[in-house]
C-alpha cells in the first residue's frame, strides 16, 4: 500500500552479483565521518537515496525495546526548519516519496524523488539529523501508530506471533531476543528521556552511510553532502554490543495455540554473522533446499508428499551471529511431526552426501540470476550498496559476490550442514489451531 510507511523488514541479503563492469561507484568520507556512496544512472529521471544508521534493536535494552523502530517514526514528525508534517508535505509536493525500515541492526531511511528535488532532499535529511524536535503530543499519537503496527504485524498475524516467540526462545541473552517492534509494555512505557538518549546515541553522521543512486551528477552530490551534512558534528557512536549468545546446548521448543485455520511451523538454527565465510555457503545451501519447484524440499513436501503449501529456507544477514530459518505453511490436518521429520531427513542427506555437480550448478545459477534481478532498479542498487557497506564492511564486496558464489563447493555445503544443523542447535516453533475459543 502506497501510503504505508515505516515497515519492519529486515535486510535480507541473498548475496551480491557479477557486475564488475558496473562498479562505477564513487565513495567519499566527509570530515565528520559520514560515508557517501554515489552511482549515476540516467535511465529514468529519478533518484533513490538511502541513509543507513547503524542502530537497531540490538542497541536497546529491556524496558526500551522497540525504541529504534519508534524513533524511526519520530524522524518524520518535525525538526527545526521543517516542522510537523512538513518533511512529507515538502517531499511529496516535489514529486518525492519516502519510507523507512528498522531491523535488529539498522535503521534505514529511503527517499525516492525526481532528480530536480535533490537539494531539497538533502536539506530535509540534514534538518532532521541536526535538529529533530521532540513534541510530547506527537510522541503520544505516534505511540498509537506503532501499537497499531504491532497489532498488524504480530498480534493479528500468525507468522508474526510465531516468529516473535521462536526468536525469543532461540536467543536467551543477546539483544536479538526481543522483537524489533518492541514488547507491548515497552511500547506503552517509553519516555521523552529515552528518546533523546537514543537520538544522541544513534543519529550522528559518523554512524551513517549515505547512498545515492540515479539521475545525478556525482560531483554535485558530493558538493551537496558537504554543504548540508558535513557541518553536522560527529558524536560517540553506540557502544559495542557486549553480550554474546551462549552456545545452545539442547533443542528448544515453542508452542502457540490460537484460533486459526491452518498450523504453522518455524525451525531455526544458530549460524554465523554477515562476515562469516559460511554466509555465501548457506545461501547456496538454502537454494538447493527451497529455491524453485525443482528444489529438494519443494519437490518432496509440496509436490511429492503434499504436506505443505510453502516451505522456505534462508539465512538472515546480521551484524551479530544470526539464524538460518525454515518457514513452513503446512496443509490442514497434516502431522507437524512429519513435516519436521522430512526437513531433518533432508538436512541429514546434506550432511552425508555431497550435492551432485549439476544440482550445485543449478543453485548457483539461481543465485546469480537473483543478483541481476536486484540490480534492475535504482532502489534495489541503493539498498544493496549500502547493505554491503554496512554488513560486509565494503560495498565492493558486492562486486565480488559472483566469485564467492562460484567458489562454493559441495564439500563446503556438507561441512556447513554438519556444523550448524545439529539437534542441540535448533529451536522449533509450532502454531496449532484451536478450533474453539
Amino acid at each position: 500500500m502506497a501510503t504505508i510507511k515505516h515497515s519492519l523488514l529486515g535486510v535480507l541479503l541473498s548475496g551480491g552479483f557479477l557486475f564488475a563492469q558496473n562498479a562505477d561507484v564513487a565513495k567519499q568520507t566527509l570530515s565528520n565521518g559520514m560515508k557517501v556512496l554515489v552511482q549515476e544512472d540516467h535511465n529514468i529521471p529519478n533518484v533513490a537515496m538511502y541513509l543507513f544508521y547503524k542502530i537497531g534493536s540490538r542497541n536497546e535494552r529491556p524496558g526500551t525495546t522497540g525504541l529504534s523502530h519508534f524513533f524511526e517514526h519520530m524522524m518524520f514528525n518535525g525538526a527545526k526548519k521543517y516542522g510537523p508534517k512538513q518533511f512529507d508535505n515538502e517531499m511529496e509536493k516535489s514529486g518525492g516519496n519516502n519510507n523507512a525500515y528498522t531491523s535488529q541492526d539498522l535503521t534505514v531511511y529511503q527517499d525516492w524523488f525526481p532528480s530536480s528535488a535533490l537539494p531539497l532532499i538533502f536539506d530535509l535529511e540534514a534538518d532532521r539529523i541536526r535538529d529533530l524536535a521532540f513534541d510530547p503530543k506527537i510522541i503520544e499519537s505516534e505511540r498509537g501508530v506503532v501499537y497499531s503496527e504491532r497489532r498488524s504485524s504480530v498480534d493479528n498475524n500468525n507468522f508474526g506471533i510465531l516468529r516473535e516467540q521462536v526468536q525469543a526462545a532461540a536467543y536467551t541473552a543477546h539483544p536479538y531476543h526481543w522483537p524489533v517492534v518492541g514488547w507491548p509494555s515497552d511500547i506503552e512505557g517509553w519516555t521523552m528521556e529515552d528518546l533523546r538518549a537514543h537520538f544522541k546515541m544513534g543519529y550522528s553522521p559518523n554512524n551513517c552511510t549515505l547512498v545515492v543512486v540515479g539521475d545525478v551528477n556525482t560531483a554535485n552530490v558530493m558538493e551537496l553532502a558537504k554543504k548540508f551534512l558535513e557541518p553536522i558534528p560527529a558524536n560517540t557512536p553506540p557502544p559495542p554490543v557486549r553480550t554474546k549468545e551462549p552456545v545452545q546446548n539442547g533443542e528448544r521448543r515453542v508452542t502457540i495455540r490460537k484460533p486459526a485455520q491452518l498450523p504453522l511451523q518455524q525451525i531455526v538454527y544458530h549460524v554465523g554473522d554477515s562476515r562469516s565465510p559460511d554466509s555465501t555457503v548457506l545461501d547456496v545451501l538454502a537454494a538447493v533446499l527451497t529455491d524453485g519447484q525443482s528444489s529438494r524440499l519443494y519437490k518432496r513436501m509440496v509436490d511429492g508428499e503434499q504436506l505443505v503449501l510453502n516451505v522456505n529456507a534462508f539465512a538472515n544477514t546480521t551484524l551479530d551471529p544470526g539464524l538460518f530459518s525454515f518457514i513452513v505453511q503446512p496443509k490442514g490436518g497434516v502431522s507437524l511431526d512429519r513435516t519436521e521429520q522430512v526437513i531433518y531427513e533432508e538436512l541429514s542427506k546434506l550432511q552425508t552426501t555431497p550435492v551432485p555437480p549439476e544440482e550445485l550448478r543449478k543453485a548457483k545459477n539461481q543465485l546469480l540470476k537473483q543478483q541481476y534481478t536486484q540490480l534492475k532498479t535504482i532502489n534495489g542498487r541503493a539498498n544493496l550498496l549500502g547493505s554491503y557497506e554496512v554488513f560486509k564492511g565494503d560495498y565492493k564486496k558486492l562486486f565480488e559476490e559472483d566469485k564467492e558464489i562460484e567458489a562454493v563447493t559441495a564439500e563446503d555445503i556438507q561441512k556447513a550442514a554438519k556444523t550448524y544443523f545439529t539437534v542441540s542447535n535448533r529451536t522449533v516453533g509450532t502454531l496449532i489451531p484451536e478450533t474453539q475459543k
Binding site: G95, N97, S116, S148, D155, Q261, D303, T373
Partner: protein
C-alpha cells in the same frame, strides 16, 4: 527569478524523458500480437504472454478456472513433465509465474540474456502445449482449497475477498470469488477446454523485452506463434450492475484484536476518459502518505498504522474503497472519522495548492512505477493492448496531468466521491462491534471466517 527558470527547465527535462521506449509491434495473420522491446543494460530477457479473458471469462459456477489453468501451464508441457520443466527452468536460473487477473490470463518469465532461446522454448511450450496431467490437476485443486484457509488466517487478504463478493454480488464477474465450491467443480476437461478456447491467436499478446536483438527476437516469436490456431476472439460480455449500496457485511473473527474495514462505492473503468483526473484525486484522498485519510486517521489521531483509498480499474467499473484498521475499541471512532474525511472531501473539495502538490507527486513517482524496469514496460504495453489504449497513455501522461483544472477536479470529486449508498465490509470480533455497526447501513449481513466460502 533564477529559481523559477531552474524549476521550469528541470520540469522540461523530466517531461522529455517520460515516454515508452521504442518497440516493434506486429500482428500475425492468426491475430496474435507480437511485441519486441529492446532495453540494453542488465543482461536479462523477459517474456510476457497475455491471453485476453481472465476471471471474467470463467464459466458460471467454475470461478477460478482461468487462474487454475494458468497455474497448471508449467505442470507438464509438450514433452516435458512438470518436474522436467522445473529442473530445466531452475537450471537456467530462470523464473516463471502465471495466473489470471479480471481481464486476462498471463505468463511472465525472466532469463539471462544468453538463455533467450532456451527460455522462449520453455515459456512457449507452457503456454501453447500444456498437457494438464490429471494428477497435477488434482494436486493443485487440493492446494488451492487449503490456500483459501491461509487467506482466512490473514485479515488483510481475507477482507479483500469478502469485499469483492459482497460489493458486486454473485451475479457479477468480479463478485465471483474462487472458493471451495467452485474449485470442487473444476475438472481436467474444463481446464483443457478453457485452454483450447482462450489460448488462441486472436487472444494472444506476446512480448519479448530486455537485452536482445530486436530483429532476431521478432523472428523467433513469429516462428513459434505464427502456427497457433487463430480460434475465436474472446468477446467481453458487459456485466450486470454491482449490488446497490446501503449494506454492511460483518465478518466475525473472534480472536481479532483490531477491526479491519472497507467503505466502498463504484469507481471507474480502466479506459474511463477521466481516469487521470480520478487517479490524481484518489491520490490526494487516500493514495499517499500525506493523503487526507492517512493524515486524519494516522498522523493526527494515531488510530491506525495506515489509511488509504484504493482505486481498482478494469474492463468494468471498479471500486473506490476506503481501507484501514484500528484496535477493536476504536472501531466506531475510526469509521466515523473516515466518513467525516469523505464528507469533507465531497463537500469542500480541494484547493490549488493541493492540486499542484498531487500533480508533482504523480509525475515524480510515475517513472519508477511504470518505466524503470523491463517487466514494468512489458506490463504497461500489454495493458494497452488488453484495454484498447494507445501509447499516449504513457507518453501524454504528463500533459494530461497538467491539463486538470481546479474547477474540474472539484466537480469530479462531487461526482465520484459520494457520501450515500456506501457499502461497508468489516472484519473483527463481532461480539464487541455488532451493535455499534447497525448505524452505518440499513441492511446488515453477518458471516464467520469459519464458514466455507467468502459470504453467502
Amino acid at each position: 527569478m533564477k529559481l523559477a527558470l531552474f524549476v521550469a527547465l528541470a520540469a522540461l527535462t523530466l517531461q522529455a524523458d517520460v515516454r515508452l521506449p521504442k518497440y516493434t509491434r506486429k500482428q500475425l495473420p492468426n491475430g496474435a500480437v507480437l511485441i519486441v522491446i529492446p532495453r540494453p543494460g542488465i543482461p536479462l530477457v523477459q517474456f510476457r504472454v497475455v491471453v485476453k479473458g481472465g476471471n471474467e471469462a470463467d464459466p458460471a459456477g467454475l470461478t477460478g478456472l482461468s487462474d487454475i489453468t494458468a497455474q497448471l501451464l508449467r505442470k507438464g508441457a509438450g514433452k516435458r513433465s512438470a518436474a522436467e520443466f522445473s529442473t530445466e527452468l531452475d537450471s537456467l536460473g530462470g523464473t516463471f509465474g502465471a495466473g489470471s487477473s479480471e481481464t486476462a490470463s498471463f505468463a511472465a518469465a525472466e532469463f539471462l540474456k544468453k538463455d533467450f532461446a532456451a527460455g522462449l522454448d520453455l515459456v512457449s511450450d507452457a503456454v501453447l502445449h500444456p498437457t494438464f496431467p490429471e494428477a497435477e490437476v488434482k494436486k493443485l485443486l487440493a492446494q488451492s482449497v487449503e490456500r483459501i484457509k491461509a487467506v482466512k488466517d490473514s485479515p488483510p487478504q481475507a477482507i479483500n475477498a469478502y469485499a469483492r463478493r459482497f460489493f458486486y454480488g454473485p451475479d457479477h464477474p468480479y463478485g465471483r470469488v474462487t472458493d471451495e465450491a467452485s474449485l470442487g467443480k473444476i475438472t481436467p476437461q474444463s481446464i483443457a477446454g478453457f485452454h483450447q478456447r482462450q489460448y488462441v491467436g486472436r487472444n494472444l499478446i506476446v512480448v519479448a523485452a530486455g537485452d536482445l536483438d530486436a530483429g532476431a527476437a521478432m523472428a523467433a516469436l513469429e516462428k513459434i506463434y505464427g502456427s497457433v490456431p487463430a480460434g475465436t476472439a474472446y468477446q467481453y460480455q458487459p456485466a450486470k450492475k454491482p449490488m446497490p449500496g446501503g449494506r454492511l457485511l460483518l465478518i466475525d473473527k473472534p480472536d481479532a484484536t483490531q477491526t479491519y474495514f472497507e467503505i466502498m462505492q463504484p469507481g471507474i473503468r480502466r479506459n474511463d476518459p477521466e481516469r487521470t483526473a480520478v487517479m490524481l484525486m484518489n491520490t490526494l484522498f487516500g493514495g499517499r502518505f500525506t493523503s487526507l485519510l492517512n493524515d486524519a486517521l494516522r498522523v493526527n489521531s494515531g488510530l491506525t498504522y495506515g489509511a488509504s483509498s484504493r482505486l481498482t480499474q478494469s474492463m468494468e467499473s471498479g471500486t473506490v474503497s476506503i481501507s484501514t484498521y484500528t484496535r477493536t475499541d476504536t472501531t466506531e471512532k475510526a469509521m466515523d472519522l473516515a466518513l467525516d474525511v469523505l464528507k469533507k472531501f465531497h463537500d469542500q473539495g480541494i484547493n490549488a495548492e493541493q492540486l499542484a502538490s498531487v500533480k508533482a507527486y504523480m509525475k515524480g513517482t510515475f517513472p519508477t512505477q511504470n518505466l524503470e524496469t523491463t517487466d514494468q514496460v512489458a506490463s504497461v504495453v500489454t495493458d494497452l493492448e488488453v484495454y484498447g489504449l494507445n501509447k499516449g497513455e504513457v507518453d501524454d501522461m504528463f500533459p494530461r496531468i497538467d491539463a486538470l483544472k481546479l474547477e474540474d477536479a472539484n466537480k469530479l470529486i462531487q461526482k465520484r466521491y459520494g457520501t450515500t449508498d456506501l457499502t461497508f465490509v468489516v472484519l473483527g470480533n463481532a461480539e464487541k462491534i455488532r451493535a455499534m455497526l447497525k448505524k452505518y447501513a440499513p441492511q446488515m449481513v453477518e458471516v464467520s471466517v469459519k464458514e466455507a466460502g467468502f459470504g453467502k
